[in-house]
Amino acid sequence: MRHEITFTLNGESRPIDVEPNDVLLDVLRTKLGVKSPKIGCERGDCGSCTVLLDGESVRSCLVLAVEVDGHDITTVEGIEHDGLTAVQEMLIEQSSFQCGFCAPGIVLAAVELIENNPQPTAADVREAISGNLCRCTGYEPIVEAVVAAVRTPPTSGGSA
C-alpha cells in the first residue's frame, strides 16, 4: 500500500510515494538522491546514517519513511546554505577526519549539540558523538576541533 507523503528535506518540500516498509535512509539515498547519510550497520549501532529530524539527531536506518510525513529532515547537505559551518571549517583546518565515512553523521551530531549547548566542553562533545562510530581517528582530533570551533570561530566561517 503506497503512501503519498510530503516532508521538508533541507528546506525544500519533497512529496514522494513510499511503501510502509521503506526505510528513511534508503528513501533519502535512492529515491531522493541525498547521499551523505551512509549505510554502515542498518541496526542503529554506528551512527553513519544520522540525520536531523525536526532538529534532533536520529538514526535514519531506524525510521520508516512514512513516519516523517509532515516533518523536517536535515542532512549535512542542508545545514548551511552559504558555505560551511564553523565546526566544518575547523574540522577541515585541523584535518580531523581520515576516511570521512562517519563525517556527515558526526557533523550533524555536533550541530545538534551546539544548537542545544553553544559552549560545549570536550566531555560534552564526546558524549554527543558517542553514538557515531569512527574507526580511523581515535576521536580526539574531532573532539578538539569541535571545541576549538566554538571557542574561536575561524574568520572565514559561517555560523555554528
Binding site: P20, N21, D26, R43, G44, S57, L64
Partner: protein, 296 residues
C-alpha cells in the same frame, strides 16, 4: 538491507482510533512509537506484522506531569525528553542517570521509556529504575483502560501482560513521601553504548527504607526483596552493606552469554549494590556524586 516483509501503516490522531485500528488489525497488528526496536526487528524478520499503528500523532502522550507525589510519564516520552525535563531533574534525577546509560543521543531522541518497557528485553535499563519507584503502567484497550503494577507487567524475556489490541499509554511513579535519593548503575563492556550485562537501581529514604531492583540478571527485572528486608530501617554501615552483598548470589539468576559470564555478573551485582547504595545514601546527605554519574 531492506525490510522485505510487507505491512500496512496507519497514524491515528486519537487514542480510540488507535485502539480501533489495533482491534481491526487483529493479532498481527503492532504499535509503533520510537521504532528503535521495532524497525530492526522488522528488518531481521523477528516480527512480521500486517499492520503498524503509529501512535506518535496522538496528543498528550508526550507529557511528563507531577501531581500529588506522583510522576506521570506518557508513552511518547523519550529518554532525551527525560534528560531535558526540569521536572525529572527535580523529582527523580536517577531517571536522568539511567537515561544517560541508554544507547546514545541519536537513539535516545527516538526511543521511549514506555517502549522500553514494552520491548521487555531482560537488559532493559528502564525496568529497575522504575521498579524502585513502585511504578504502575497504564493501558488502553477495547474495553477501556487498566493499570498494573510494573512488577506484574513483566512476564519474561520480551513478554509482558500487554494484551493484543492494547496500547501502553504511560507509567506513574510513586515518589516516596519522605526525603529520598537514588542511584543507577549499569554493567557494560565499556563506557560507550552497550546493552546491560547487569543493571541496578537503588533508592534510599531518610527513614532508612531501601529499594533495590536488578535487571539483566534474571528473565525479567525484579525487586530484591530479601536485600531490601535486611537493610530496612538501618543506617548504612560497612557491616550491613557486606551482609547485603552476601545475599546477592541468591537473589539473582544470571546466565553466561557472550556479553558476560554468570560469575562476573554475580560478582559485579555485589559491587554495584555496594556502590549504588553508598551513592544513594551520600546523595541523600547531599554530598554524593552528581546526577548523572558512572558509578562503576
Amino acid at each position: 538491507m531492506a525490510i522485505v516483509h510487507d505491512f500496512k501503516y496507519v497514524r491515528p490522531e486519537r487514542l480510540e482510533e488507535a485502539v480501533s485500528a489495533l482491534v481491526a488489525g487483529g493479532p498481527r497488528a503492532r504499535v509503533l512509537a520510537g521504532g528503535t526496536d521495532v524497525v530492526p526487528w522488522l528488518r531481521d524478520d523477528v516480527i512480521t506484522p500486517d499492520l503498524l499503528v503509529d501512535i506518535k500523532a496522538i496528543p498528550d502522550l508526550d507529557r511528563i506531569t507531577a501531581v500529588d507525589g506522583r510522576l506521570e510519564i506518557g508513552a511518547l516520552v523519550t529518554f532525551s525528553d527525560l534528560i531535558a525535563s526540569d521536572v525529572i531533574h527535580e523529582l527523580a534525577p536517577m531517571l536522568v542517570e539511567m537515561s544517560h546509560h541508554v544507547a546514545s543521543i541519536g537513539v535516545r531522541n527516538r526511543a521511549t521509556i514506555v517502549g522500553n518497557l514494552c520491548s521487555a528485553v531482560p537488559s532493559l535499563d528502564a525496568g529497575p529504575a522504575l521498579l524502585v519507584y513502585d511504578a504502575q503502567i497504564h493501558m488502553a484497550g477495547e474495553h477501556g483502560t487498566r493499570t498494573l503494577p510494573l512488577d506484574e507487567w513483566f512476564v519474561g524475556p520480551k513478554s509482558t501482560k500487554l494484551a493484543p489490541a492494547e496500547i501502553a499509554t504511560g507509567v506513574t511513579l510513586a515518589l516516596p513521601p519522605v526525603a529520598h535519593a537514588a542511584a543507577f548503575a549499569k554493567l557494560s563492556r565499556y563506557s560507550g553504548e552497550d546493552l546491560a550485562q547487569a543493571n541496578l537501581a537503588t533508592l534510599a529514604t531518610a527513614d532508612h527504607d531501601y529499594r533495590v531492583a536488578y535487571g539483566a540478571v534474571a528473565p525479567k527485572p525484579f525487586r530484591a526483596a530479601a536485600i531490601e528486608a535486611l537493610l530496612a530501617g538501618r543506617p548504612l554501615d560497612g557491616d550491613i552493606v557486606a551482609a547485603a552483598r552476601s545475599l546477592v548470589p541468591d537473589a539473582i539468576s544470571p546466565i553466561t552469554d557472550i556479553r558476560a559470564s554468570a560469575e562476573y555478573r554475580t560478582h559485579m551485582c555485589g559491587v554495584m549494590l555496594e556502590r549504588t547504595l553508598r551513592a544513594a545514601a551520600s546523595r541523600l546527605a547531599s554530598d554524593g556524586p552528581p546526577y548523572p554519574s558512572h558509578l562503576i
